[in-house]
């Protein structure tokens, strides 16, 4: 490197008064988004509820005093069947005498795991397809978008039921993985379309030409230069996908095509307790309300993120 001397900037030394507007501008982008999100009370409430549910799911074994010899998720209390709230079982017991709180918390683990894992896989497929189609355009775009259209044209639950019959026949955790794969395989097209649209617009921007003049290859341009600009819509899509996937999982499990015993999810809890609805409606209400609250919180957070990430949102 030859010598390059530092140049005294002409601006240095001139005192610029920091008006509130200027100070605002100096904040980082993440900070601005965070501030906007924080001001949305409903979204923050959703996030708080979601955090609570997640913590409860993670610490389910601790909360329910699981030990090496005692599994509250499967242990039955034969003296109390479908009891309703009683001391020792705050939410009562189910139709074979298992503690409903334990069922709910362990079910949350499966439901959240399926929702998150299938979202990650789905976003990965959707972003890859959308990015390649939008960036390269031409025949590749045509091919990929027609495949996407085909996926969108399939009646979702029909194909899921048909495939689940062969896919999720394994019991326990094998069925959980099967459900994750299935949901991911059919929930990516929406993301692919969003990402393709973003890439189509962004690839013509001048800063990409500038990055090309520095010697960046296509992969680097897509991953490091375009994708961060498309992060907003992808994050929102990802959030909403988690909620959607939890519902899908519950539906599959409700019809017995999803998670198989002894593993339980909120959907299987609904399915197995519907026969006892007239005797103990609480057994249906508990997992139902759990699904409702979780998905609602996720969607509120998603909406909050959408508003916070949208640069054209007018300040409220």
């Amino acid at each position: 490197m030859s010598t390059i001397q530092s140049e005294q900037s002409p601006q240095a030394g001139i005192g610029v008064e920091l008006t509130p507007e200027l100070l605002r501008k100096r904040r980082g982008q993440l900070r601005i988004i965070f501030d906007r999100f924080i001001r949305n009370k409903v979204a923050v409430a959703g996030l708080a509820v979601l955090a609570l549910i997640t913590l409860a799911a993670i610490f389910a074994p601790v909360i329910t005093h699981q030990t090496a010899t005692f599994d509250p998720n499967t242990a039955t209390d034969v003296y109390h069947i479908a009891s309703g709230p009683i001391p020792g079982h705050p939410l009562g017991t189910d139709y074979v005498g298992r503690d409903e709180v334990a069922r709910l918390l362990f079910g949350a683990r499966v439901s959240l795991l399926v929702g998150l894992a299938s979202m990650v896989a789905s976003i990965f497929i959707g972003v890859s397809v959308g990015a390649l189609a939008g960036y390269y355009g031409g025949w590749l775009d045509n091919l990929m978008m027609r495949v996407t259209d085909a996926f969108l044209a399939i009646p979702l639950y029909l194909i899921l039921f048909v495939l689940a019959a062969t896919f999720t026949t394994g019991s326990g955790s094998a069925s959980v993985i099967g459900v994750i794969v299935l949901i991911a395989a059919f929930s990516w097209p929406a993301t692919a379309r969003i990402v393709r649209g973003e890439f189509l617009g962004l690839k013509e921007r001048e800063f990409l030409l500038a990055a090309r003049t520095l010697g960046a290859n296509d992969f680097r341009l897509m991953l490091r230069h375009i994708l961060p600009n498309a992060a907003g819509p992808v994050i929102v899509a990802a959030t909403l996908l988690v909620g959607f996937n939890i519902i899908t999982e519950s539906t599959l499990s409700f019809f017995n095509f999803g998670v198989q015993p002894p593993e339980s999810s909120w959907g299987t809890m609904l399915a197995t307790s519907q026969d006892y609805f007239s005797e103990q409606p609480l057994l249906v209400l508990i997992p139902g309300v759990a699904i409702l609250i979780t998905v609602l919180s996720i969607n509120l957070v998603g909406d909050g993120l959408r508003d916070a990430l949208d640069p054209y949102m007018t300040e409220r």
């Binding site: 030859s2 140049e7 601006q11 501008k25 980082g28 982008q29 010697g215 960046a216 290859n217 680097r220």
Partner: protein, 347 residues
């Protein structure tokens, strides 16, 4: 170091071929500064993007017989992977609008270390230090803190400084500046030009300065090429071109530069007519419909008229001939005054 020969770039459209660059030859020597001047659509930017091999092909097409040799390597048919090693490392580029040529969601540091990682293989720590040095070198105060800033937190002039820092990061041999000051206000323009000049001296980088503004190249470049309609109209050393312009188009450009030192301010001169339609190029000299010196033989493309040394004009007419001038003045030609010329040469 860079030798462009008979470069022809056509754009294929539904209506036919647009002759964006039509047989341009020039060279840039080591450490030299070359100005390319011309109005919008004269092929300046297409020329620079051809050198970088960043034209969209199709619709653009570099025609057979074109040659771009950079340091003994032919760029026109070079493999894309080889070309990527040249971009940013050997030839770097600065664009017109620093508002749009920086990535809005990446910090300045991440954009600065891009060429360092791509070409020099520096570690993260080394790249960080180098990035800070680069910001200091282009005159951005408080560099350590500014590295963490985003482009929108900089003013236009500061952003262009950042662009320059990114361009020189890997110490390229040739810097192509495509209208680097057009989007900036006048006081900042001078600072940016000064900065480019200083870096050229310090680093020994060759500079290709593309502009539509003769005032910009005046104090900046060793040589100038005046382009019109994808062809070279005139080329000379900078001093020679301002002192002794020989192409009617150059004369038109010179008198179209606004001046502040006139005793009796006159109306700003313009070149009548509009740039030619390059979809349907006319026979012969492309400037003839707008040229006050036009002659019947202009239907034939003029041969190179060697004026002196490396001063060449592509024109049938000797514009210094008093008879020719008299003829042109009847068509509205207004000769340049000596005052105007010396002012331009100084600025």
């Amino acid at each position: 170091m860079l030798e462009v020969k008979d470069l022809k770039v056509y754009f294929r459209t539904r209506e036919g071929n647009v002759h964006a660059v039509d047989g341009v030859s020039f060279h840039v020597d080591e450490g030299e500064s070359l100005g390319i001047v011309g109005e919008s659509g004269s092929g300046k930017s297409v020329t620079s993007l051809s050198i970088m091999r960043l034209l969209q092909i199709p619709p653009a097409q570099i025609m057979d017989g074109s040659s771009i040799v950079f340091q003994d390597a032919e760029l026109v048919d070079m493999e894309e992977s080889e070309m990527r090693k040249i971009r940013g490392r050997q030839i770097a580029m600065i664009f017109q609008d620093p508002m749009t040529s920086l990535n809005p969601v990446l910090t300045v540091e991440r954009q600065l270390i891009e060429p360092l990682q791509l070409h020099l293989g520096l570690s993260r720590g080394e790249a960080h230090n180098r990035a800070r040095e680069l910001l200091e070198a282009v005159g951005i105060p408080d560099a350590e803190r500014r590295l963490r800033s985003y482009p929108h937190q900089f003013s236009g002039g500061m952003r262009q400084r950042v662009m320059i820092a990114i361009a020189i990061a890997a110490n390229p041999k040739l810097l192509i500046a495509d209208e680097p000051t057009t989007a900036l206000d006048v006081t900042v323009q001078a600072q940016i030009l000064e900065l480019i000049n200083r870096l050229r001296r310090d680093l020994g980088t060759s500079v290709m300065l593309i502009t539509h503004d003769l005032g910009v190249v005046a104090g900046m470049t060793d040589r100038i090429i005046v382009m019109y309609a994808g062809k070279i109209a005139e080329t000379a050393s900078t001093d020679e071109l301002f002192a002794n312009p020989r192409h009617p188009y150059t004369l038109g450009l010179l008198s179209a530069v606004p001046r502040l030192d006139e005793e009796r301010p006159t109306e700003l001169q313009t070149i009548p007519g509009s740039p030619p339609d390059q979809l349907h190029p006319i026979e012969g000299c492309p400037f003839q419909p707008r040229c006050p010196f036009v002659l019947p033989q202009c239907k034939q493309y003029p041969p190179a008229r060697k004026i002196a040394g490396n001063h060449v004009a592509y024109c049938w007419v000797d514009v210094t001939d008093p008879e020719e001038q008299k003829r042109a003045m009847q068509r509205g030609f207004i000769p340049l005054t000596e005052i105007g010329r010396s002012y331009l040469a100084q600025s």
